[in-house]
Every structure is written in C-alpha cells, then in structure tokens.
C-alpha cells in the first residue's frame, strides 16, 4: 500500500470519528415534541431571510462570487450603460432645433400666440374659484397689482414676434 492509499484509509478512519459525536442524552426524546409545539404555536419555519425569499438573488451573488470574469463583465456592462446614459442625456436635442428655424434657414424666430380661448363662463368661474395653489388670479386684482401689471381682466391679444437676423 503506497503512502497516498494509506493516508486515504487513515482519513476514512478519522472521519468515522464524526459518527461517535452524539448530542446530550435524551435530546432526541424531546426533539419531536419541541418541533410540534412550535408548529402548534404557529411558527413559520424560522429565519425567513432575504436569501430564502429571493433565491434568484442568492444564485446571482453566488455566480458573482465564484466567477470573477462574470462579475467583471457585468460591472463593465453596467459602467457602459451608465456612460451611455450620461452621453445621451448631455446630447443636444436635435428634434427641437428645426422648429426654431424658418424653412429658409434664416435665423428668425416666429412665435405665434394662440388666440384667446373663449371659455364658457362656467369654466372661468371654476378657474377663479379653484383652490389651485400654483395659479390663483385673485391677488392680481389688488390695486398694487393693477398699478404694476395693468387690469387683470383685460382681454388677451394675439401676439406675434419676428426676430430677423443681421
């Protein structure tokens, strides 16, 4: 018998020692009673931790732990995604630019304000009496406001701006 085989046999003999490790006397006589008592008390099987509720998370973490290449690839992908998102957010919005330019390409700005809406009196009354904290036309009716901004009840006029280039 060579040394390796001898060591293997000795290891098996040593592992047999584990079979002689026994719990305190009477332990198994009480065990099932304690289990049933806990079941009757309505216990839920102990520590329902995150790992038991989310097994896919455990598998992912195990994969990350056991495969550094996978973890690196995942981290790189997340970094790329982040950088891509930042670049995309910083990019000037190309879809707005043509709307500001006239068809001829001259740097002119035309802003046409829509004609005033002729809302029915009921709707207007609703607006005035609304509790909207952002827009409340009531303060405009004070004398100071009238002096500063004019009559708040004056009808809106359509306005057209034209900015010509030099």
């Amino acid at each position: 018998m060579n040394e390796n085989e001898h060591q293997f046999q000795a290891l098996r003999q040593l592992l047999a020692l584990k079979r002689h490790e026994v719990p305190p006397p009477g332990y198994f006589d009480r065990f099932s009673g304690e289990v049933l008592a806990r079941i009757r008390a309505g216990e839920t099987g102990g520590r329902d931790n995150l790992a038991e509720r989310l097994p896919w998370l455990v598998r992912l973490l195990q994969a990350l732990e056991s495969q550094p290449a996978f973890a690196g690839a995942l981290a790189s992908a997340l970094c790329l995604l982040l950088v891509g998102g930042l670049l995309y957010a910083e990019r000037p919005d190309a879809t707005i630019q043509p709307l500001l330019l006239p068809p001829g390409g001259a740097p002119a700005l035309n802003v046409a304000v829509a004609p005033p809406l002729s809302a029915p009196p009921a709707v207007t009354a609703g607006l005035i009496s609304a509790t909207n904290p952002v827009f409340n036309p009531q303060p405009m009716a004070t004398p100071e406001a009238v002096a500063l901004f004019g009559n708040p009840t004056a009808p809106l006029q359509p306005v057209s701006f034209r900015v010509s280039g030099n």
Partner: protein
Amino acid sequence: MIMAEPVSRRDSEPTAPVDEETLVQRARGGDLTAYDELVKRYQERIYATIYHMTSNHEDANDLAQESFIKAFQALKHFKGGSSFYTWLYRIAVNKTINFLKQRRHRVHMSLNDLDFNAEHDPDLMALISDKTPRREAGLTELQEKLNAALLKLSEPHRLVVVLHDVQGLSHEEIAKVMNCNIGTVRSRLFYARQQLQAWLADYLKPT
C-alpha cells in the same frame, strides 16, 4: 355514579409500522400525530447532517427544528416526485447552507461529546496508537482538528464529505439532495478528500 370509561385494549397493542406515503398524506391533511412519526423517523439523520456541517450543537438544534417546521408548512407543495426523505434532506441542506453563508466569518464550534464506543473503535485506536508524528493526540484533540479541517472546506465540498463519508449516502442519493449530477458529486468528493488529507497530514502520516 360516574363510571370510568374502559381503557381501550388497542392502545396497549403494538401497532404495525405505517408506510411513509400514508404518513405524508395524513400529515398533509394536518394530522400532527402522523407528522410526529415522520419527525421521529428522520430527526437523527437530519440533525446529524446539520451538526456535521456546522460543528455546533445549538445551531444544529435550531436549524433541524426549523427544517421540520418548514417541511410541515411546505407539505402541500410536496409533489412526491422524490421520496419524502430526499425532499426533507434538501430543505435541511438549503437552510444550513444559507445559514453558513450568513455567518461565514463567525465560526464557533460547540462540539458534542464522543460516545462510549469511540474509545473501543479499533480503527480509531489504531489512529491514536499508531506511530504517527502526533501519536500523543487524544481522541478529543483529533475531534477538534477534524472539525476545524471540515470547516475550512467550502459548503458544497463539506456537504459531500458529510453525506458520503460520515452519513453513508450513495453518490446517487447525494446528487438528488444537492440537485446536481453524479460526476459533480464525485469530483467534489475527490477534491475535498485531497484537501482534508493535506490539512490533517500530521495525523495521517506513518513515520
């Protein structure tokens, strides 16, 4: 006058062992007496497996009880594709591995005493009295060194050693419990033994 009810003679008669499937069916219907019988059948093996994995009696006690409680509550999901024993083992093993992952850096051994037979096991006596470099080591020291070495193994490797070399399960049974193929079981067993031989070389080498 109130007469005491006659004691049923059937209570004192030995009952025939009920097969596992019947017990499982009854337990699934909420029969705690049937489940008590199932617990008594498997408590030693389940406890031993968890104990050998944790090397801690208190942890093994908690985890074994929780495994049986969880199994009772999950009985309605038990399809019967495998034996109840394998299914129960799987619950206990998963619970233990999750527990060990959480307390990876807080290992504390609380070893059970050796039984009387250990001192009369000729193989163990041969290990101690053999002319090894550590022949002065007693059984208790061997026990501590062995458990410390087992705890150094990764959980899957330790589990294979415990189930095969300590509990005596076959490769096929271990593959079912661990939900992997037999080749994986064999390779893990080979690697784990190599590691243990290296760590316990002082206690295994002849001079």
